[in-house]
């Protein structure tokens, strides 16, 4: 049984995670990638499942929701956290249904009729007690973790596979799954444009660079200029790289064959919430009819719609735009430093996720496979 120290340990970890989230992305702490955040969230939820006191699936879901609300409130711009919570809730639902013996298939392929009369499985039904539920849920979360992290892809959405079945064809986590597809999209002597630094895109390009020769143009993405770091990393790998200012995006676009970008969040309508300047880039690409490819692992898919919340935007310290050392002028002007841009789905050609390529119009389908409709609101 979970002792009292275990429980304090859990709350301590939770608090530490929360305060880390709050301070996240400020430059005061190490910037973590969203993959890391996803992993940490899931690991934390697994701990909660293992150590919290609950007797039925309903209780567990209540606990997860409660903690989930706190976690998402801590840093609303970090949608990955909410996504992982929804994934775990979905797992709990499925494990419960399986224990009850209802067929998974029926649950998964919800008919239009069933979607209309939504709420088929209402909360009362989760009250039944099953002894092996805890173990089953933990095992399922473990699988989710392996999908996110290392070793196996485990990408058969919500279908439980024995681990041996998938072990063969891919080696590592979501980023590598995406990178593996690079050769299908990048051809020799192409000119690729990207903006800022995305770990996924970096891996994607590097993977292609091993076999093919192509040219990458990196928009520096002021004021943080993560593009510089991206360019350095790529050129270290022997990829021909050019850095341009954000203002030059349109001018250079006519020479570009493909635009490949990363994103912070994929929204429910197939749009993006991506680093500042991406909208400009997408518009320029559209004007020149250059295909725009978005590399985004599945955990970035969020059931959130644009303008749904006030927390859509994130503004950080204006230090990078106008340094604090400027002196007198600071009291006379207002300086803003937004971090994100919204990119509408019309501007996007293709999503590459860890399970393959999708059109923006297909996002809704993925969404319904990943998350249970009742969990959209935590």
């Amino acid at each position: 049984m979970p002792g009292p120290d275990k429980e304090t340990d859990l709350t301590e970890r939770l608090e530490a995670f929360l305060s880390d989230l709050k301070r996240g992305g400020s430059g005061t702490g190490p910037l973590r990638s969203s993959a890391e955040t996803a992993r940490e969230t899931t690991a934390l939820l697994r701990r909660i499942t293992a150590q919290a006191r609950w007797s039925s699936a309903g209780d567990l879901m209540e606990i997860i929701r409660k903690e989930g609300r706190r976690m998402t409130a801590a840093q609303p711009s970090e949608t990955t956290v909410g996504n992982m919570i929804r994934r775990v809730l979905k797992i709990v639902r499925e494990e419960y249904a399986r224990s009850r013996g209802s067929s998974e298939e029926a649950d998964q392929q919800e008919s239009l009729h069933k979607m209309l009369t939504s709420g088929g499985l209402s909360e009362e039904n989760f009250r039944q007690h099953f002894a092996p539920l805890r173990a089953n849920v933990i095992e399922a979360i473990n699988e989710l973790l392996t999908e996110l992290g290392n070793l196996e892809p485990a990408v058969r959405l919500s279908v439980r596979l024995t681990s041996s079945a998938t072990a063969s064809f891919l080696k590592e986590g979501t980023t590598d799954n995406i990178a593996m597809q690079a050769l299908e999209h990048i051809h020799s002597n192409e000119v690729i444009m990207t903006i800022g630094r995305s770990r996924t895109v970096e891996a994607f390009l590097k993977n292609a660079g091993r076999k093919r020769k192509f040219h990458v143009i990196v928009a520096e993405c002021a004021p943080f200029c993560q593009g510089h770091e991206m360019a350095t990393n790529l050129s270290k790998d022997g990829i021909e790289t050019t850095v341009i200012t954000d203002a030059a995006i349109f001018a250079v676009m006519s020479r570009v064959n493909k635009v490949i970008i990363g994103t912070q969040t994929v929204l429910a309508n197939g749009g993006l919430r991506a680093v500042n300047g991406t909208h400009t880039l997408a518009l320029a690409a559209k004007h020149h009819s250059t295909p725009l490819i978005v590399c985004a692992p599945m955990f970035k898919l969020s059931p959130q719609f644009p303008n749904e919340e006030d927390t859509f935007h994130k503004f950080v310290s204006p230090h990078e735009v106008l340094p604090f050392t400027e002196g007198e002028i600071l009291s006379k002007v207002n300086v803003h430093c937004p971090v994100f841009d919204y990119v509408p789905p019309e501007l996007i050609t293709l999503f590459i996720s860890n399970i393959g390529g999708h059109a923006p119009s297909y996002i809704y389908r993925l969404m319904s496979e990943l998350y249970h409709p009742e969990d959209h609101e935590l």
Partner: protein, 707 residues
């Protein structure tokens, strides 16, 4: 895989990321937070609430400091409170810092006896609270600087040269004229550009000319910088030695004393101070209301990110607010009337309602406030539960909790309405008005024990306020409160005070400045500003030492010890010591009683003192030259005090009898010393002539006896 494993073990060990690997070997980082300012800049507001708890951006200032410490990796914080300690304690116990899950353990230490930073650090040393390097910070610092780099440099330095560097001061680069630069804290620092060692540290205090001691240019560094682009964050990384040094030098009151002391004594004690100038991050101390204004507006403009209004870093329930364009923050339950505009940089906390056709810009409004129609607020800082009626104009002013502003009131710039004041209707307060429920005179009376617990005084004060009538011409027909007016009081201190509230130094007078940076307890020795020359400083220190010795009945041995250490501290020659000591002792009665003493009174006062301090003199006056030095100081003193020549002989006689001076030397002085007319005049004094004659005879007779 390896990276992940490493990460997990790290977070498992310390419970938090960002603490860095070196924490695994280093002991946990500690901090000393001084939740008291030891000055009265925020008077009369601080009469009701200590400064650390005053709201800035709708959160208590101490919460910002604790959040800064926690996010920078501090795991144990000692909070020292003095003024209204119980309030601070209560606040902290309720806050998230005292929850068992907090990564930063907060210990609260209270005492009424702390009168300065020096007292606090001496207590740190006495209780041996710190085990290794610690962060020293005030309870009113707002910052998001990551000190880990500075800390690493500090530790490196200490590892390289054992215990040489005692302190690393954090500075933020910002050019002169920046609104967040506090004029009083404006410093010029001379620093070795390679090692970042501070060579000279001086507050500018509005001076036009700076003086740098020559020796800093000869200390063998290839390159050094003189910097005036630094903002003192009042964050310092100290080694445990700092506390010890404060104990050893009990005259250190403030950090400036300490820095000055270390720099002056560098060659003797071998300690050094370094600095770390950071470009990133934000750090400022709210040391007066002008700083309050600029830090608040920096906070609302998100310079302190991730400490922003909507982040709810204090973790209180229901504290959620939304952020929209032009830096407008709205708490839950805020209602805005028809036609009202929140123009820019506005933060309104929960459950506040605003009437129609208001215009609000650059302001912070607390919770549960009601604001009427047609109100114009600009740079207004309105705290909680304030009621503002219609047609009110407020610009750059602070309105404290539970204030009522009636219809048609105009608050011009830099007004302060302290707790529970009522103003109006239809009145315009001139610029710089301070209104408080406490009467200024009542304040003067309990001036001296301001640091003591307040409850008794406030009750007492209330009785008085009943007797005194509010002046309707000043605060309006329905007004309640007393004006604290600078000009109506002749007391210079009061005048200073009201300017200090907004941090305006009207006359760049170094003397007055150095005074008000002091805690104004009556028996604290006045610590001179750095511009005074060492001899003068030394003289004042000796005076202070003797005074204390008399009050606390300190033995002469200890006095000698203290004077000796002062001698080294200010680099004083033995000759000067002699002269100054003599001078100080002879002037002592005047110092205490004023210059109108009659000679007989003077002698009466001085003789017991001489008797008491005779051992001190004997310790110094040994060689022949010493006697002459002493006598020349004696002569100098009486030359200035012609009216007291009659007392001169008695004093000299007494000194002779106490065996401070030898007869031979007195005779020698008498025969040789005269150099100008006045001293010749002095020697013609009858009494002196007689005394000398007597001495000569005595000598002859003793010689005869010897033969």
């Amino acid at each position: 895989m390896a990276a992940r494993g490493g990460k997990q073990s790290r977070s498992g060990l310390s419970g938090r990321k960002g603490a860095g690997e070196q924490d695994e070997e280093e002991p946990p980082l500690q901090a000393v937070l001084v939740a008291d300012s030891f000055n009265r800049r925020f008077f009369p507001i601080t009469k009701d609430q200590p400064r650390a708890l005053l709201p800035l951006g709708n959160a208590a200032m101490i919460d910002y400091t604790l959040e800064f410490l926690t996010s920078t990796g501090v795991q144990e914080t000692f909070v020292f409170c003095c003024w209204m300690a119980s309030n601070i304690k209560e606040h902290l116990l309720k806050s998230k810092w005292c929850r068992p899950t907090s990564p930063n353990t907060v210990h609260i230490i209270t005492s009424d006896l702390y009168r300065s930073l020096g007292d606090v650090l001496r207590d740190v040393d006495a209780k041996s609270l710190v085990r290794s390097d610690f962060v020293l910070v005030y309870g009113d610092v707002v910052s998001n600087i990551d000190v880990s780099q500075a800390l690493q440099e500090h530790r490196q330095r200490r590892k390289m040269e054992k215990n040489i560097s005692v302190m690393t001061m954090m500075f933020k680069e910002s050019s002169p004229g920046h609104r967040s630069r506090c004029e009083e804290d404006d410093v010029i620092v001379a620093v070795d550009s390679k090692s970042q060692q501070i060579l000279h540290y001086q507050k500018t205090q509005g001076l036009k000319k700076m003086q740098f001691p020559m020796n800093i240019f000869h200390c063998g560094t290839d390159e050094f910088e003189i910097r005036h682009d630094l903002l003192d964050c009042h964050i310092s990384i100290c080694s445990p030695q700092v506390a010890e040094l404060f104990t050893d030098n009990f005259d250190y009151q403030t950090r400036d004393d300490f820095v000055r002391g270390i720099l002056v004594n560098e060659e003797i004690l071998g300690n050094q101070i370094h600095m770390h100038a950071t470009k990133d991050g934000y750090g400022a101390r709210v040391s007066n209301l002008l700083m309050y204004d600029s830090v608040s507006s920096d906070f609302v403009r998100r310079w302190v990110y991730p400490l922003t209004p909507e982040s709810n870093f204090t973790d209180r329930e229901g504290q959620i607010c939304t952020y929209s364009r032009h830096n407008v923050y709205r708490g839950s339950g805020v209602s805005l009337g028809h036609g009202s505009q929140m123009e820019e940089n506005v933060f309104i906390d929960r459950d506040t309602s605003i009437g129609a056709n208001c215009s609000i810009s650059n302001s912070v409004i607390g919770n549960n406030c009601t604001i009427g129609d047609h109100v114009v607020l600009d740079h207004a800082y309105i705290w909680n539960d304030v009621h503002i009626a219609s047609n009110v104009v407020i610009s750059q002013s602070v309105v404290c909790d539970k204030v009522q502003v009636k219809q048609g009131v105009t608050l011009n710039k830099q007004c302060v309405l302290a707790y529970n004041v009522v103003i109006g209707p239809n009145i315009s307060l001139p610029e710089g008005t301070v209104v408080s429920m406490h009467h200024p005179e009542e304040e003067e009376e309990d001036d001296e024990d301001e640091f003591l617990s307040d409850d008794a005084q406030v009750d007492q004060g209330k009785d008085k306020t009943k007797q005194k009538v509010f002046n309707p011409a000043e605060v309006g027909a329905e007004g309640k409160g007393y004006i604290w007016r600078a000009s109506s009081l002749d007391d210079t201190e009061e005048e200073e005070l009201s300017h200090c509230l907004w941090g305006l130094v009207l006359k760049p007078d170094p003397e007055s400045d150095s005074e008000d940076s002091e805690p104004d307890g009556p028996d604290d020795p006045v610590i001179p500003s750095p511009e005074m020359d060492d001899v003068k400083v030394f003289q004042m220190e000796v005076l202070g030492t003797l005074q204390r010795g008399l009050e606390e009945n300190i033995g002469c041995d200890n006095l000698v010890l203290e004077i000796n250490s002062l001698k080294y501290a200010y680099n004083i020659t033995l000759k000067e010591v002699m002269q100054i000591l003599t001078k100080v002792v002879l002037e002592y009665p005047f110092q205490q009683q004023g210059p109108q003493l009659t000679p007989s009174q003077y002698v009466k006062l001085l003789l017991p003192l001489l008797k008491k301090w005779a051992p001190v003199f004997k310790n110094y006056v040994k060689r022949a030259q010493d006697h002459l030095d002493c006598l020349s100081a004696f002569e100098e003193h009486f030359l200035e005090q012609e009216s007291h020549w009659t007392a001169m002989v008695k004093v000299l006689m007494n000194m002779y009898e106490l065996e401070i001076l030898e007869e031979e030397m007195i005779l020698r002085w008498f025969s040789q010393g005269a150099t100008n007319d006045q001293s010749k005049q002095l020697r013609k004094n009858q009494g002196l002539q007689k005394f000398i004659q007597w001495l000569e005879e005595a000598e002859e007779s003793s010689e005869e006896d010897g033969e």
